[in-house]
């Protein structure tokens, strides 16, 4: 196909051509970035929690009348929950991976350090790795005799008495790698305050924090040998077979209410619900972005259809002359297809530059990473395809123009 005659025709329709190129360029730029943002959100939503998600349920209760001994209350509750048929393990925790409300501490390697290195999620509670199903990759779990009641630890903090403070911790691989890159973390110590020094005794493959909004720091967590008393911020976690979750949840609520009729169940859900709620905003945003992409591509495609139809109608006579001079239907069809391909190519080239510019702006203002290069060819192919599809109808109509049109005066 000869491109030069097409180019010379386009040069005589400068404004219309440029408008089409501009439209394709803008669409290309926005679609590239929107697809990238969708990918970014989806990747975030696939974040690993490090636990056995489909086997867990959560119950939160609040006591109406304050319990005289919240530690005894917690022990009783756990014992009651353990009796429920189908329950494999039970624990009380101060937070859940991806649970939203979080408890965190700043970590230092040396108490004289001016600034903490990072902030890490702090899990308190007995039997957490076993109940969560978090995999231990090195060292051991926390031993029952290492656990300290939270109020004793708080008093010890105030008095500076290190005996009443936790001395060991289990950390995640990600946290260990960040604190001691390339070294064996077992036996190493870190500081939460000037007096609280913790020795690493175990390493978990992964355990996401409750406020895992940033992928880079999502796995910075540790488990401390602290026992909390029953309270409205604590959660009971039950592990069961996935198919038994609904029944176990119901039985757990009933058992807790029976143990103390004067309390309110503030939350009961499976862990799948926890994950679903945590990423609700990201899912909504991804949905909106998909809607925008579809609307954009539709508008652009319809724009191409409109302009191409107009062009075909305007050139009916020319087409007739060409047909009369021996051009086949195929020639005419390919002429319009090539013309659209050329316009799309210009548009895509311009669009890539724009896409890159928009990405730079987003990187600056919204902490988005750089647009990976493979988005460019994918975006180009998508727009070429849409352009070709859109022009097909008008081009077929052009090809159907009979040669006799040339001989008619208009």
């Amino acid at each position: 196909m000869d491109i030069l005659p097409i180019l010379s025709t386009l040069r005589r329709h400068k404004i219309t051509s440029w408008l089409l190129i501009l439209e394709i360029a803008l669409t290309c730029a926005i679609v590239c970035n929107a697809v990238f943002m969708i990918g970014h959100r989806l990747q975030h939503m696939r974040m690993s929690s490090g636990i056995d998600e489909h086997a867990l349920v959560q119950v939160q209760v609040a006591d109406i009348a304050p319990s005289p001994d919240i530690y005894a209350r917690a022990k009783e509750d756990l014992a009651v929950l353990r009796q429920i048929p189908g329950v494999q393990a039970v624990a009380m925790t101060n937070q859940l991976p991806l649970g939203g409300s979080s408890s965190n501490a700043s970590v230092k390697l040396d108490p004289t350090q001016r600034q903490p290195i990072l902030s890490a999620g702090t899990y308190f509670g007995r039997d957490l790795p076993q109940t969560f199903g978090a995999r231990l990759v090195a060292g051991r779990n926390l031993k029952p005799e290492e656990y300290i009641d939270a109020d004793i630890a708080i008093k010890a903090l105030a008095t500076g008495d290190t005996k009443g403070l936790p001395a060991v911790a289990v950390v995640t691989q990600a946290l260990a790698q960040r604190l001691w890159p390339g070294q064996n973390p077992l036996g190493k110590s870190f500081y939460l305050t000037d007096t609280v020094s913790l020795r690493v005794v175990g390493v978990l493959a992964g355990l996401a924090r409750a406020n895992a909004h940033d992928d880079a720091t999502a796995q910075y967590t540790m488990i401390l040998p602290l026992l909390m008393g029953a309270g409205k911020d604590q959660s009971y976690i039950l592990r069961t077979r996935p198919q038994d979750r609904a029944a176990v949840l119901k039985a757990a609520v009933a058992a807790l209410k029976k143990a103390d009729p004067l309390r309110v169940v503030t939350r009961q859900r499976t862990y799948d619900d926890v994950r679903h709620e945590f990423f609700a905003n990201d899912r909504a945003m991804a949905g909106i972005l998909v809607g925008v992409i579809v609307a954009l591509l539709t508008v652009t495609a319809l724009g191409i259809v409109g302009l191409a139809s107009f062009w075909v109608a305007q050139r009916r006579r020319t087409i007739g002359v060409r047909r009369a001079l021996g051009a086949t239907r195929g020639h005419i069809l390919r002429y319009f297809q090539t013309e659209n391909f050329l316009l799309a190519t210009f548009g895509i080239a311009l669009g890539m530059l724009l896409a890159y510019g928009i990405n730079l702006f987003l990187m600056l203002h919204y902490e988005l990473p750089r647009l990976p290069a493979f988005y460019f060819p994918v975006g180009a192919v998508a727009l070429w395809l849409i352009g070709q599809l859109a022009v097909l109808g008008p081009a077929l109509r052009a090809a159907a123009v009979p040669p006799v049109v040339a001989t008619r005066s208009v």
Binding site: I15, L19, L20, I30, I64, A295, T300, L302, L307, V410
Partner: protein, 435 residues
Amino acid sequence: MFGYYLDLALHSLKRNKVLTALMVLALALGIGATITTLTVLRLLSGDPLPQKSAQLFYPQVDPYPENRPFSRSGTKLPWLMSYVDAMNLLRAGKAQRQTAVALAQVKVKPRTTEGKPFYADGVMTTADFFPMFDAPFQYGAGWSAADDDRRVQVAVISGFLNDKLYGGANSVGRMIRVEDRDFRIIGVLKSWAPQPRFYALHLGSRNYGKGEGVFMPLQAARADGIGPSMMMSYGSGSSMEHLETSPAIWLGVWLELPDASAVSAYRLFLADYARQQVALGRFQKSRTALSGLMAWLRGEHVVPDDARLQAGLAFGFLLICVVNTVGLLLAKCLRRSREIGVRRALGAGRGAIFAQFMVEAAIVGVAGGVLGLVFAELGLWGIRHQPAQYASLAHLDLAMFLFTFVVALAASLVAGLLPAWRACAVAPAPQLKAL
């Protein structure tokens, strides 16, 4: 003449129904998306108390030790204040009004019926809270500074809690059970929920949405063991029981300063206060800040990034729709070169041709605006079903309703400029010759 142009335009639009529908639909989609996101953005970045915000200020001091800064970069001032600092500022009384605020999740139970207890959002604050933030009362009134000092167990409840517990009747004088203590109701608010919820910022609650149910005097509530939703400690040994003496920040302090001279006087006072605390050894840094309400909200990035991103996206979309409309209008107008030639030959001036095509563009714009309004309502309906905390607030108001047509007309007239200019540049002679 305008009537004639209108007639011509309608005639031309009718002749090419598909093309017209395409233009209107594209423009409407762009306008619908833009208005939807702008409505949300306006709602999120709005002024919570338009009549008062210029006089409300948020002071900050920095009790954090040098080796344990509040933010990792060390530049940010702590969001909240410790009890000691908040009370020092309140007692100094250097502003026209001043209040300290903390939020709390509290268990509430009506005293009269044996109803089930439930959790409600509560506010622990001081007497000036209500007059300072113009909180309107349905029944009764707030408490006094003397009540604060005497730790009187009184409460102000919101209109929605009053409706829920007492069926909207005047409940002043009745008792309400909060966290197993009796509080006497002394006031019932009308529905009051400034958006964004500026006083709740960083206090452990949402930045948008419904207001709180119960308001209690800070000291009385603390004496009953009610703890704040948000507490950040900057030293060892902070516990929920001894928050008043702990090295912990958990209170937001607000000041009412009527004019610029009061503001600069307070700035000096605050700087003095911080230096004094450094001298006393309580602080290690004498940095302070005093931000106006709107500056505080802007500085803390209250508007979610997603909302900005959506607005940007919508504008990009509108731009593409406008380019699309320019292309289609141009195509239409070039096809009508002969008609233009005839009109010119019959005596129509360039201006008349220009006006005729602009009228045609404006009709597309108005139609696009009407349809865009439908899309915007649909879009806002969609937003209301989103999980965002501001979702329930997304409604189109009169200003945005009118703005829709301004955007629609502006977009279509901009889109019409180029085609109309090309149309009036058509030379009549060649067109007539071809006939």
